[in-house]
């Protein structure tokens, strides 16, 4: 237990000095990396460092000093989680985030070296355990950082999904679904659900799926479209696919995709005219009739 308690003792005895050097080191590297100095305020950094340092010192002097996943280290992990997550959201790079932990090495090793210079073996042991601990904590930061970034990505994905699936009512009994962007199975699924639910709510007999904003149509996308049309048909609504650009029409033919008996139209206007006709409505030009 000797080296571990050495670390704990030094952490306690030189708390103010090490903390000050550590903060200074971080501020320096933040400045060196440029633009980031405004992303984290000095007072915030100081507070984070102080909390991390204290919980680290407590955990290092506990019985489970070497296992960072033990309950004694939960507070250390909490502080790290907060720091990494907020940095991930603020747009820090992974190495900038991990530096929070790794920059503690230099001031800590300096103190260890000064105090254990007489005993080489003890110094080596102390440095090794400290290094091990900080490495594990550093890896932990990277992991949490990664998780934070993934959360950001998944949030953006859901936001994009919400943005891209508006179902518009064009007329009493006519719905339109302007699809925009690449269609994957997940998106098509949510689009399909949104459309079917709106069909049920509004009792619309005709739904126009407009694919003007879909950049490419491959066999998979075509299959998704066919499924949507089939599901709408099962509910009792007819689907018209519109907005098929010339290149996409060629692709569909080249890929030998059979759109079956789905009505397809070149533009949304054409599809709308068909829809009104099926509902028994006429569009007349009043000036021409006069």
């Amino acid at each position: 237990m000797q080296p571990k308690s050495q670390l704990a003792q030094i952490l306690k005895r030189f708390e103010t000095d090490i903390l000050a050097e550590w903060v200074a080191e971080q501020l320096r590297s933040l400045k060196a990396s440029g633009q980031r100095s405004d992303a984290v305020r000095d007072s915030e950094l100081r507070e984070d460092c102080r909390r991390f340092y204290q919980s680290f010192a407590d955990a290092a002097s506990s019985a489970n000093a070497s296992d960072v996943m033990a309950t004694e280290w939960s507070e250390v992990r909490d502080v790290l989680t907060n720091v990494s997550r907020s940095r991930a959201i603020a747009g820090f790079s992974p190495s900038e985030t991990a530096r929070f932990v790794f920059s503690l090495k230099r001031p800590l090793f300096q103190r260890l070296g000064q105090n254990l210079s007489a005993n080489g073996d003890a110094l080596f042991d102390a440095v090794q355990t400290t290094s091990d601990l900080l490495d594990k904590l550093g890896l932990l930061t990277t992991e949490i950082y990664q998780k934070g970034r993934e959360e950001v990505i998944s949030r953006q994905q859901t936001e994009m999904l919400e943005l891209s699936t508006p179902v518009v009512k064009l007329w009493d009994g006519v719905l339109a679904l302007p699809m925009i962007g690449t269609l994957d199975s997940y998106r098509t699924q949510s689009v399909m659900e949104a459309l079917l639910v709106r069909i049920m709510e509004t009792g619309s007999r005709i739904a126009i799926i407009d694919i003007t904003g879909v950049p490419t149509v491959d066999t998979l996308v075509a299959q998704h479209l066919m499924k949507t049309v089939a599901a709408a048909r099962l509910m009792g609504a007819d689907c018209i696919i519109s907005g098929i650009r010339p290149q996409i029409a060629q692709t569909i033919v080249h890929l030998a995709i059979d759109l079956g008996n789905i009505t397809t139209k070149a533009t949304l206007a054409d599809a709308f005219a068909v829809a009104l006709e099926r509902l028994g409505k006429d569009i007349t030009d009043r000036r021409a009739a006069r």
Partner: protein, 120 residues
């Protein structure tokens, strides 16, 4: 044993499914409906499934069978009020129920039946 009531309305038979379908119920519905069509020589069948919240492959296939049987007996069949979740499930199961007419509500379904039977 519970049974699904079959109501005769003019030339048509009205079937409203108000309970969750299980396999035996679906089988007995098929039997009852076939008998009813043949005894009443009905021209059309309207099945309202707006209360049905779940289907599995068996129930889906049963619908397809019922429709095929009805067609053999020269009766038009219309399924009305299918819920979105049910429609998605059937499509994912590959049961497109081609040949079955569908409608959003009973009103629309009746209209379809009238048109279809008037034509034949």
């Amino acid at each position: 044993m519970e049974r699904i009531p079959l109501l005769r309305v003019g030339d048509f038979i009205l079937v409203t499914i108000q309970v969750d379908m299980h396999d035996r119920l679906a089988m007995s519905l098929q039997d009852d409906l076939t008998n009813k069509i043949s005894t009443t020589s009905a021209k059309g069948v309207l099945i309202d499934i707006s209360a049905l919240e779940m289907v599995d492959s068996f129930i889906g296939r049963m619908f397809a069978n019922i429709a095929a049987t009805a067609r053999v007996l020269d009766a038009e069949i219309v399924v009305v009020g299918m819920r979105p979740a049910v429609a998605i499930t059937l499509v994912e199961l590959g049961l497109y129920l081609t040949g079955i007419r569908t409608a959003l509500d009973v009103d629309h379904g009746m209209e379809l039946l009238r048109v279809a039977t008037a034509r034949s």
